[in-house]
């Protein structure tokens, strides 16, 4: 019995074991879950160990003499101070550094992509279309402009949603919900393809019922 056959049997057992959760929580699901979590945690431990501690820290940082990596190494060591009650407070410094640096870096990224590009993409001549006078393009332009504007009104927190403002916000949430509906259908279809993939595995790779 080759390795691939053993692998297929284990994979089939785990696939069916996870699927038994559809009925209810049971011992086979618990075994599959424990194997999955244990293997994945072990896999990631080894991956992170070799990628970070060995390759980046030891090979590049120590042996390669790239001292700029020592900033990260020092922060990492400070994080380990959490293991001690006495000096555990030191671990707050690298956490503060990471959160602060990330907030600063993302400020630019989000401001550009979520604000400026969105505004730029929305501002258009409503009557403009690729084919002159094509009503579908004109309707599309109006939907984009109205949807973005009313969506922004919905996410405006400084004013109560009442009167005209409230009505516009309601239009905004309708736009959002219609978008969600479309996204829901699209994503469900992609999930179905994953299910089909597992069934295909069971029938072809494991049971050899289809080729």
């Amino acid at each position: 019995m080759g390795e691939s056959v053993i692998g297929a049997w284990i994979a089939a057992f785990l696939t069916l074991g996870i699927l038994t959760f559809l009925y209810k929580d049971n011992v086979i699901y618990k075994i599959s879950e424990a194997i999955f979590i244990g293997v994945s945690a072990g896999y990631w431990f080894i991956t992170l160990f070799w990628d970070n501690l060995y390759r980046k820290f030891w090979v590049v940082g120590i042996e390669g003499g790239q001292w700029e990596l020592w900033g990260g190494i020092i922060l990492g060591v400070m994080m380990l101070c959490r293991l001690s009650r006495k000096i555990g407070w030191i671990a707050r410094w690298p956490m503060s550094f990471i959160i602060g640096a990330v907030a600063g870096l993302y400020m630019m990224l989000y401001f550009t992509s979520n604000a400026m590009v969105q505004i730029r993409s929305t501002i258009s001549n409503l009557t403009e279309s690729v084919n002159v006078g094509d009503p579908y393009y004109i309707i599309g332009n109006i939907v984009v402009a109205a949807g973005t504007f009313s969506g922004l009104v919905y996410f405006y927190f400084s004013k109560e949603h009442k009167g005209v403002f409230g009505a516009t916000a309601k239009v905004g949430i309708w736009f959002i919900m219609v978008t969600f509906g479309a996204a829901f259908g699209y994503t469900v279809m992609s999930r179905m393809s994953l299910l089909i993939g597992r069934i295909d595995f069971l029938l072809s790779d494991w049971l050899k019922l289809i080729s």
Partner: protein, 419 residues
């Protein structure tokens, strides 16, 4: 003969030395240009035939604007060579002033009139030539003026962004100071947040734990930070009610941050003794391994309330549907557009997009967070006005050929780099 009109060095684009407070306008300083000597290009001798019937191609070589150096833009006026029947294209040649012969740095097809040379070194001065290839002959232009690439300290294309940041940043500071002075800042109610205390109360009454998942992203994701901020306020209520909380995490850094957040919350509630590191624990970095573990916790511990606040991907429905199955009251919040529909379908309350970020400010009522939210609202108001004005101007300008409208339209194009 190839003639070199080596003019005295003149920089047409000097550095814009502007003292700025925000580092975003820096274009970067680290990129180093390729040395010319290493370029593997054909070397041209100086016996290339000059144009006979047509005037020579005129060209202009200048340092590329708003970049971090290492780039020169060459533009040329064709003078009619591209109309010749055997015209094949342009060859752009470059010679450093220390070298004798020019080297080929690029080619350009029919109809083109410019090329950006990104293989230059900032510390070298160059001259350029453009050769029109007609059949087997090359008609080479006179040399360009001396040119040298430099980096610009201020990127002028980012000026609208700077203005917007000043408006929003200034508003945030203003409102924070206003809130610190004790002035009440109004924020509308957010439905999902009203249910937070209800959910904690329900868990307390039922004697069951609360499950909190701060998403599957690491601490470098702003949604994770937003989720942890809400956890801080939620943790205080949980500590006051003496309810149990379970928080599985996908990454070690989120686990550490989660523990810090909860520890602070329990201390703020005057219950440091009730806090335990076991409340927050690492599961697995594997996305679906983590999802399987959360599902197991849901069906075995049967939490009365579940909070999913952060970045989620395909596991969102797996968790939310299982939570729904056990009858837990569920509050979710994410800015992942693809996952929001699932949360909306399976949870009792969903914080949509920015509501997640607004939630912590609303719950904490802290001046800094409230001020930030109010400042962002100013940004949104400006965005709404710009969109409204922009759409009206662009539409009306196309309908009425008025000078004022056209000028306003051009202003909008310049401001937002519109076509």
């Amino acid at each position: 003969m190839l003639t070199n009109q080596d003019h005295s060095f003149s920089k047409s684009h000097p550095c814009h030395i502007i003292v700025i407070i925000l580092s975003f306008v820096f274009s970067g300083f680290g990129a180093s240009a390729q040395a010319e000597d290493t370029a593997t290009v054909a070397t041209y001798s100086s016996d290339i035939s000059p144009a006979v019937d047509l005037p020579p191609i005129t060209l202009l070589a200048v340092d590329t604007d708003n970049d971090n150096g290492g780039s020169i833009t060459i533009s040329w006026d064709d003078a009619g060579y591209s109309e010749l029947p055997q015209f094949r294209g342009y060859e752009i040649l470059r010679r450093s002033i220390q070298a004798n012969a020019p080297v080929l740095v690029g080619t350009a097809p029919h109809g083109s009139s410019s090329l950006v040379d990104k293989s230059v070194s900032d510390d070298t001065t160059y001259v350029y030539y453009v050769a029109a290839t007609v059949g087997e002959e090359r008609f080479v232009s006179d040399s360009s003026s001396h040119v040298q690439s430099t980096w610009q300290i201020y990127n002028t294309t980012l000026t609208p962004l700077l203005i917007a940041l000043i408006i929003v940043g200034g508003s945030v500071i203003f409102f924070i100071e206003t809130a610190k002075r004790g002035r009440k800042l109004f924020l509308r109610k957010i439905a999902g947040l009203e249910a937070v205390n209800e959910a904690v109360g329900r868990a307390t009454e039922m004697g069951r734990p609360i499950l909190f998942v701060a998403g599957i992203a690491d601490i470098d994701d702003v949604q994770t930070i937003a989720g942890l901020t809400i956890l801080g306020r939620l943790g205080r209520t949980i500590a006051e009610y003496d309810t149990k909380i379970t928080m599985p995490t996908r990454t070690s850094l989120v686990m550490t941050a989660g523990r810090e957040t909860l520890r602070e919350a329990y201390m703020a509630a005057g219950r440091p003794d009730a806090y335990s590191d076991d409340m927050v624990f690492y599961v697995s970095d594997e996305q679906f391994g983590f999802a399987a573990a959360v599902d197991g916790i849901l069906v075995r511990d049967k939490p009365a309330a579940c909070f999913y606040l952060g970045t989620f991907h395909a596991e969102s429905l797996i968790m939310a549907e299982t939570g729904n199955l056990i009858g837990a009251i569920q509050i979710a919040g994410t800015a992942q557009p693809a996952q929001l529909p699932f949360f909306v379908a399976a949870c009792d309350y969903t914080l949509i997009g920015e509501e997640l970020f607004a939630a912590s400010a609303y719950l904490s009522e802290e001046p800094r967070q409230l001020g930030s939210l109010k400042g962002q609202d100013v940004g949104k108001a400006v965005a709404m006005m710009l969109i409204l004005a922009g759409v009206l101007i662009m539409t009306l300008a196309s309908m009425w050929e008025l000078d004022t409208m056209n000028q306003l339209q051009q202003l909008m194009r310049d401001l937002f780099s519109l076509n």
